[in-house]
């Protein structure tokens, strides 16, 4: 399971690979906390993510809070079926843009 990120302009893209679970906690946090301060848009790229558990949902909430809470601009993209299912059950599309 690995996390890496790239930024272009004001957007930070965080790529998740493998199982997104508690072991990713520190890396995920570092990815957005240590980014430049002018970031106002976040994209979580799930193309290589296999699976997400409830602690990953928690991490997404933490990111959203960091990004401004209700005014945050966080997108979760390229989700596979399993990932999408978990996000749907939790109704996270009410808080994030998901595709």
């Amino acid at each position: 399971m690995s996390v890496n990120s790239t930024s272009n302009g004001n957007e930070l893209v965080i790529n998740i690979e493998g199982r997104f679970d508690f072991s990713a906690h520190q890396e995920f946090r570092d990815a957005y906390e240590k980014a430049e301060t002018n970031i106002n848009s976040y994209v979580i790229n799930m193309a290589k993510a296999l699976y997400l558990d409830s602690s990953a949902l928690g991490m997404l909430l933490l990111l959203r809070d960091h990004a401004g809470g209700d005014s945050a601009n966080v997108q979760i993209t390229k989700c596979n079926q399993d990932v999408k299912k978990i996000l749907t059950i939790s109704n996270f599309e009410q808080l994030f843009k998901i595709d």
């Binding site: 409830s54 602690s55 949902l57 928690g58 991490m59 909430l61 933490l62 809070d65 209700d70 059950i89 939790s90 109704n91 996270f92 009410q94 808080l95």
Partner: protein
Amino acid sequence: MEGSSYTILIADDNMSDRMILTAIVKKMGHTVLSAADGLEAVQQYTEKKPDIILLDVMMPNMNGLQAAIEIKKIAGEDMVPIIFLTSLQDANDLAKCLESGGDDFLSKPYNPIILTAKINAFSRMLTMHNILQQQKNLISKNADHLLNEQQVAKAVYDNVAHSGCLDLPNLKFLLSPFSVFNGDVLLAARRPSGSVHILLGDFTGHGLPAAIGAMPLAEIFYGMTAKGFLMEDILREINSKLKTILPIGYFCCACMATLSFRKKNIEVWMGGLPDYYVLRKDQDEVEHIVSTHLPLGVLSSQAFDATTQNIAFDVGDKFYMWSDGIVESRNDDGDLFGEERLKQIFYNNKNRESLFDEIVSKVNDFTGESGKDDDTTILEVGMLEESELGKVNIDLSGGSVSGPTDWKMEYTLRGETLKSFNPLPVMLNILNDVPSLRRLSGQLYTLMSELFSNAFEHGVLGLSSDLKSSTDGFAKYYQLRSERMDNIGKHTVCFIFDHIPTKSGGQLTIKVIDTGKGFDYKSIKSSNFKADTYCGRGIPLIRSISESLKYSGNGNTVEVVLAWQAEEA
């Protein structure tokens, strides 16, 4: 470390050999103990516990090999390196030495450089071993502490998390005794009206963090259910509480259901849990109940949505609730149980009565010894005829509601306070103490807001809302308002609340009296009550909320009556 001084035992039956070794070892700065045979060597070890042992193989009374075995036995978990002193050259013989507990060899003639190097190497190992031992002991102590704390947490949790009326005849459930460690909560309680509230919760996190959320959740659930609060209010309260106390990223996936025996339906709110199934008495196809909300503890109170789904539910139908532990459980190969397997159990089932047990045993078979029951929380809900359930045991006087139902209160604002203080929140708070008025909270606020505005602006200040119909008028209105507020003098506005219980629920009378000049209400026929007359635009609104509205006095007194029904079971 190479700097520290160790105690080294030299066991050799040859005195000149011993002398040479002693000289070398002493030169290194270490302390020397001597033994002339195996027996003495064991004795020396037992009494003085040297750090390293130089042991001759061929000795009278007890040879080196035997002595090594004895010493290692006595040492137990302690590390004591043994260097055999030998001129043996046969590989088998040397192997035998190592098997009996030896760690290394030194051959004759004794080379001081080599012996020094070996002793230093072993002393590094000793240091490392001692550090590891210390850490191991520390970890062990901490683990004991944690275990103890967890047991206390479990005891507290057990008192809270699965009490209530889970023993009703129409409920079958399985909740792991270790649910505190996986954050699962299963609660059931009867409402004063007879219906049943059920809540299945799955907190994120394991162990103590999960248990911490469960406590207030259970308290709110039981407390409010007993008082007759509706599911939406309870959910709102729980969400609010969890949002406050849980750190961001922690939440509770939950399903709450109200089972009504009288109406023969289930009302369901689902946030974050996998699909639940409804199985009809005479159908094989399962109906899916889907999660439509975010889990509890995520949204603020304003954003929280308590909308429920209503499902008809008859005797013979079954409703299945579970945590995600079933679908998420894994076998030894790491495969997920998955929803397909779960559905299969339903399809293959021949006898409804044993379906619950079949689900439980299939999950246990799948997870094997490793995951047995650990994460499985499951509830089967059936419907009963009202007559089959006993009466709800709630100690109340005056009907099936609780909270203050028979009271009167008067609240008057005078002069300067009237000018600057908004009494609405305080008054609304008192009204909210009547459980059933709580659901009318919004309407009550609107009502009182209008009544107060009328009494203050139009009554006391004598302003007419006609002024506000033009832009110039607005400015004039507020200018006048400001002037008149400065001259408020001894004016007052008085609110009188009178609440009485009725057969079907309760009734609230709100009377508002202001010290203004009033108006000629008698001359206005209710049918052509224009929106912009004395009392402003609020009257139709007030009328729509209340049972009755009447004026008295010189028009400076208004009385509004609101009634509410205790909702049915």
